[in-house]
């Protein structure tokens, strides 16, 4: 009898704070983001577009960094490949904006898998350095070695006018394409993470040895996680090209690489919403701080330092914790933090990571 009452309360609390509100919150955020072009001026809309593009990039990096726990400190090569590749494909093969985006995504995924097979032989520390150095080397190459005709060097390249389903890419179409890509990316990932593949990736991130013992091909799934990140990063690169319209190697330098890492960690490595929140936070913060340029780096640094120091699961992880706590209070059984993974109310494989 008492059992049933607790269960009923728990269900009520679950409805209030569980999965459905998550979808409702996401839907509300999407609606708000969708109406932005109606009431934002051009500059702020540009900022919003950047936030969406970096959210895609962050979600991509999260698969490798957050789910598989690979010390992947270099995502910009794939981001750059997406941008330069999409421009090239648009000009050469007339595939159109969406076709070029899909093409670079697939190619980057395949390339990422092959590179992943090689670099993931390294352990955490050397892996971090190797990926970081690879990213720096690719940027240097774009600066000095990449053919000028393809957009290398300081001149970069300018995107020719394109149309997406009949609308010019330079209007709001670029923004809506980016937003749609973000939604599709998150939806696909949310589904994939509930399949056999997603569980394998997650197991790999929790404990590689245990995963191997239970029959998961660690090399294959590790490279697969890395490849998914690479593919999504290329998508983000193409979207970056579409929303900015002109790119130079500076768009893929070490600073950008670090910024993306900071976004993902700021938002939290344990939820899909984390990178989105982190990207929005940092892009908007940087735009607001531009007027206070001399201290913007300092403020950026202090905010991030505080998050790393005090919020181990990032901003999104902290919200999840508060929600869990509130849910516990409402259902009359306050729980200790850290018991989430044993709780049937939180079966989302992305929500159970400790963020460690």
């Amino acid at each position: 009898m008492a059992d049933r009452r607790i269960k009923a309360q728990r269900n009520l609390a679950g409805v209030l704070l569980g999965r459905p509100p998550r979808i409702a919150l996401g839907g509300a955020a999407l609606l708000a983001a969708g109406t932005l072009p109606l009431w934002l001026n051009t500059i702020n809309l540009y900022t919003a577009g950047q936030a969406v593009v970096f959210a895609v990039l962050g979600v991509g990096l999260m698969v490798s960094l957050g789910v598989c726990r690979q010390a992947n400190f270099g995502i910009t090569p794939y981001f750059a490949f997406g941008a330069y590749g999409a421009a090239d494909i648009c000009v050469r093969w007339h595939l159109g904006a969406v076709g070029a985006l899909l093409a670079v995504t697939v190619v980057s995924g395949i390339g990422g898998y092959l590179i992943g097979r090689i670099v993931l032989r390294l352990r955490q520390f050397t892996l971090a350095l190797a990926t970081f150095v690879l990213a720096t080397a690719v940027w240097e190459y774009l600066e000095v070695g990449f053919p000028q005709s393809l957009g290398g060097g300081d001149n970069g390249l300018v995107l020719p006018t394109l149309s997406v389903f009949g609308y010019s890419i330079f209007g709001n179409a670029g923004y809506y394409l980016a937003l749609a890509s973000l939604v599709v990316t998150i939806a696909v990932l949310a589904i994939v993470m509930r399949t056999r593949i997603g569980r394998a990736l997650h197991a790999l991130g929790q404990d590689a040895t245990a995963a191997q013992t239970s029959g998961i091909d660690v090399t294959h799934y590790g490279a697969l996680g890395y490849a998914i990140s690479a593919a999504i990063a290329a998508t983000a690169g193409a979207l970056f090209l579409y929303t900015v319209g002109a790119i130079t190697p500076d768009g893929f330098d070490v600073g950008v690489n670090v910024t993306v890492l900071l976004m993902v960690v700021l938002g939290g490595l344990s939820t899909l919403a984390g990178p989105v929140i982190g990207a929005a936070f940092i892009v908007v913060l940087n735009q607001k701080l531009e007027s206070a340029l001399s201290y913007s780096v300092l403020i950026d640094g202090l905010v991030l330092l505080a998050v790393v120091r005090f919020l181990p699961d990032g901003l999104a992880g902290q919200f999840v914790r508060w929600a869990d706590h509130l849910r516990g209070v409402l259902s009359g059984e306050p729980r200790e933090p850290g018991s989430d993974s044993l709780d049937p109310a939180a079966p989302d494989p992305l929500a159970t990571g400790s963020g460690g």
């Binding site: 726990r69 350095l129 070490v254 900071l262 913007s296 780096v297 991030l304 330092l305 790393v308 120091r309």
Partner: protein, 295 residues
């Protein structure tokens, strides 16, 4: 021929700086397991702070250098006690730890840059800029001083590590933190020692290299990258290993700059690093001082 020798000496000088930065990076890594991306900013402090004090307060050079070194040491201890120690207590993995040092690096750059408007600073010429001649070979005085200082510092570091109890404690917390704690080594203090030594070496190398590069708030990162390469190419387990890696790298950069296109020298050093990491993940000299787990 004499031109080649001059280039080789320039390469050795650069290599020694890379080696010193690699050594300072290795010091913190071996004691704590932290990849310190803020190491380049200690180098920057060593170059920029003395210059700021000399130009704005007209302090004597020696005093300004001491202030620069002290600033670097204070920053390193701040890093240790505001970030590294709490995260170590929480048993944080390598990813958030490294990102935290990125954030700390932004804080240092923002603090120094915000108060000096991000420009470059005038370099301090600690020796006469006129080179001296040895036979027919022309040698820059800075290079001679850099090479001498590096040899002395590396030897000193080796003696500290292998001939003193403090060094024994340093190596102990590196190879087996739990064991070290159980025999009564006070981890936190020994780690502080590692941070202080590492910051001193980094800041000193920054001061020495300042006349040879453009000194400014953003000078740290390229130097940090080359320090990484030196440490990893040499191997992280021995006092002289980063020096070997650094000189190898310095010669490479110098010779490519002299006989090829200098635009490709950075790319070449990164390529060498990737190659070494893939073929010999533990570096040319082979040992890794710290047992790193895969998780």
């Amino acid at each position: 021929m004499t031109e080649l020798i001059t280039n080789l000496i320039v390469g050795a000088g650069l290599g020694c700086i890379y080696g010193l930065i690699g050594l300072s990076f290795m010091g913190i890594y071996n004691a704590t397991g932290v990849l310190n991306f803020a190491q380049g900013d200690f180098v920057m402090i060593g170059a920029v702070i003395p210059s700021l004090f000399i130009t704005s307060f007209r302090l004597p050079t020696a005093l300004a250098v001491v202030i620069g070194l002290a600033t670097a040491v204070v920053s390193a201890l701040l890093l240790q006690f505001t970030l590294i120690e709490p995260l170590l207590r929480r048993n944080t993995r390598i990813i958030p730890m490294a990102i935290g040092t990125f954030a700390f690096s932004l804080v240092i750059e923002g603090a120094v840059g915000g108060s000096s408007t991000y420009g470059t600073v005038p370099a301090i010429n600690y020796v006469s800029a006129l080179p001296f001649k040895l036979g027919s070979v022309i040698i820059g005085r800075e290079y001679a001083i850099i090479i001498l200082t590096t040899v002395v510092l590396s030897a000193g570091y080796w003696v500290l590590l292998h001939k003193t109890y403090l060094g024994l404690a340093l190596r102990a917390i590196g190879s087996n933190p739990l064991g070290a704690m159980s025999i009564g080594i006070r981890e936190e203090r020994v780690r502080s020692l590692a941070f202080v030594i590492s910051a001193l070496i980094a800041a000193l190398s920054g001061f020495l290299v300042a006349p040879l590069v453009t000194a400014g708030v953003t000078m740290g990162f390229p130097l940090l990258l080359n320090g990484f390469v030196a440490a990893v190419v040499g191997g992280m387990g021995r006092a002289f290993a980063p020096l070997v890696g650094g000189i190898f790298l310095g010669e490479l950069v110098s010779l490519i700059g002299a006989y090829g296109t200098s635009a490709y020298s950075d790319l070449a050093s990164l390529g060498v690093l990737l190659l070494v990491i893939m073929v010999r993940p533990d570096g040319l000299l082979g040992t890794v001082g710290r047992g790193i787990t895969d998780s």
